[in-house]
């Protein structure tokens, strides 16, 4: 099993934190041994990409990460 680079790990941590806060991703281990992302996380990434009119891939591409790191309002984008 290849080890993730620190940058790669940071990316996933940023995404996980973002999706928990703004897309109600359930807390818990999201990574799987092969993909680093569970189905739940992919679904939330898709939801976020759809909201921001990004290409909906379910994967953490550069556009998605760039938006996740921008300054923003702390209110979730999806209703409770």
């Amino acid at each position: 099993m290849p080890l993730s680079s620190p940058e790669e790990t940071d990316k996933w941590l940023l995404a996980e934190k973002y999706l928990r806060k703004f897309y109600h991703l359930q807390a818990g281990l999201q990574g799987t041994s092969t993909h680093r992302s569970s189905d739940a996380m992919q679904a939330k990434i898709r939801e976020m990409q759809s909201f921001f009119n990004l290409q909906v891939t379910g994967s953490l591409d550069a556009n998605t990460l760039e938006l996740m790191s921008m300054a923003r309002c702390g209110v979730p984008d999806v209703g409770e």
Binding site: F51, N53, R72, C73, G74, V75, D77, G79
Partner: protein
């Protein structure tokens, strides 16, 4: 626009607010003014009135705080989260908190308190986030000048509270919604290459087409380049110097990559254009000739990039030199040996060597529509 679930709203139109504490970043009077102006933005388009309380419990309690600040909804230090607000309701409902770890300003130097407050009060009145990047209720911060609401914001708030009964207050100029890439009547303001990407300017926005992205990405011009104007008339890349030139009115800016080059803006007349030319409609560099064509109204000029001089014998008529084309162009791009001219909702693909139009398609086909 979006509302919160159950369309939460204030049940009466007289909403009270209280500023619990102040940021040291600004004078107290500047904070008061930013908050009052932010409420006025919403009061101008609804029947709502906002009364300031100096003590006791108000509907909207406004506070500055850091990290965990009493609502179990902590801030995160500088940048990232800027503020949050709760939808209308009792107790914490409507309350609005700003992250004191941010630097707040009354201009574009830091996070503009008026803009963030207006966005947060949108939540405090019942608006959830909008997915329209031109709307004030879009979740991502971007600085802009002038009236902050878009049509989308106004429609959203009026769906909850109705219109303002005072006709004098209705004279607001909302920002138009973000352009829709697949609108069949879509026209472009300017198109250029930028290090292998294609940048398409339209109104306050630009689309970025990256060879590895299937979908164009739409962003506010001000989000990327705060000092560029909101409207771009023309743009072209001069790859030999890794520069992109952006034209707006009688001024031009230069980019190196995504960074603005110092020493700009310069007047377009420095290129050798006559003073009677007030805007450049389109610009395109042709690598085969080393010339940049500059289009304005029904004429065009040729600029030699090597000698930095305007070629003699110009201006010439667009209609005469580019047969089969419209007599004016909005935007132009040179790609794979062909010139792409955009005029209103039509795109002309022009063979420079054969001197003829080889294809006419809709402008929006360039955005995969």
């Amino acid at each position: 626009y979006n509302h919160f679930p159950r369309h939460l709203k204030w049940q009466n139109t007289n909403v009270t607010f209280r500023i619990v504490n102040y940021t040291p970043d600004l004078k107290k009077a500047d904070v008061d003014r930013a908050i009052r102006n932010a409420f006025n933005i919403w009061a101008d388009v609804t029947p709502l009135t906002f009364k300031k309380l100096h003590e006791g419990k108000a509907d909207i309690m406004i506070a500055f705080g850091t990290k965990e600040h009493g609502d179990f909804n902590p801030f995160d230090g500088p940048d990232g989260l800027l503020a949050h607000a709760y939808p209308p309701g009792r107790d914490i409902g409507g309350d609005t908190h700003f992250d004191e770890d941010e630097h707040w300003s009354k201009d574009s130097d830091a996070y503009n308190l008026f803009l963030v407050a207006t966005h947060e009060f949108g939540h405090a009145l019942g608006l959830s986030h909008s997915s329209d990047p031109g709307a004030l209720m879009y979740p991502v911060y971007s600085y802009s000048e002038g009236y902050p609401l878009s049509e989308d914001d106004i429609t959203g708030i009026q769906a909850l509270y109705g219109q303002c009964p005072n006709p004098n207050h209705r004279k607001v100029k909302p920002k138009p919604d973000a352009p829709n890439k697949c609108d069949p009547m879509l026209s472009f303001d300017a198109v250029t290459e930028l290090r292998g990407e294609t940048i398409i300017f339209k109104d306050r926005f630009y689309w970025r087409l990256h060879p590895q992205f299937a979908e164009p990405e739409q962003t506010l011009i001000k989000s990327t380049w705060p000092s560029l104007p909101n409207k771009v008339d023309a743009a072209y890349e001069y790859p030999e110097k890794d520069m992109v030139f952006i034209f707006s009115g009688i001024r031009m800016w230069a980019l190196n990559g995504y960074n603005l080059v110092e020493g700009y803006p310069k007047y377009i007349h420095k290129l050798g254009l006559p003073k009677t030319v007030r805007t450049v409609d389109a610009a395109v560099y042709i690598p085969d000739t080393g010339k940049t064509l500059l289009f304005s109204e029904e004429q065009f000029w040729s600029y030699d990039e090597k000698t930095n001089t305007m070629d003699s014998g110009f201006p010439r008529s667009i209609e005469m030199d580019f047969p089969g084309m419209a007599d004016e162009v909005d935007a132009a791009l040179y790609k794979h040996g062909y010139l792409h001219f955009f005029h209103e909702h039509t795109q002309f693909e022009y063979s420079y060597s054969a001197r003829k139009v080889i294809q006419i398609v809709r402008t929006n086909s360039f955005l995969n529509c």
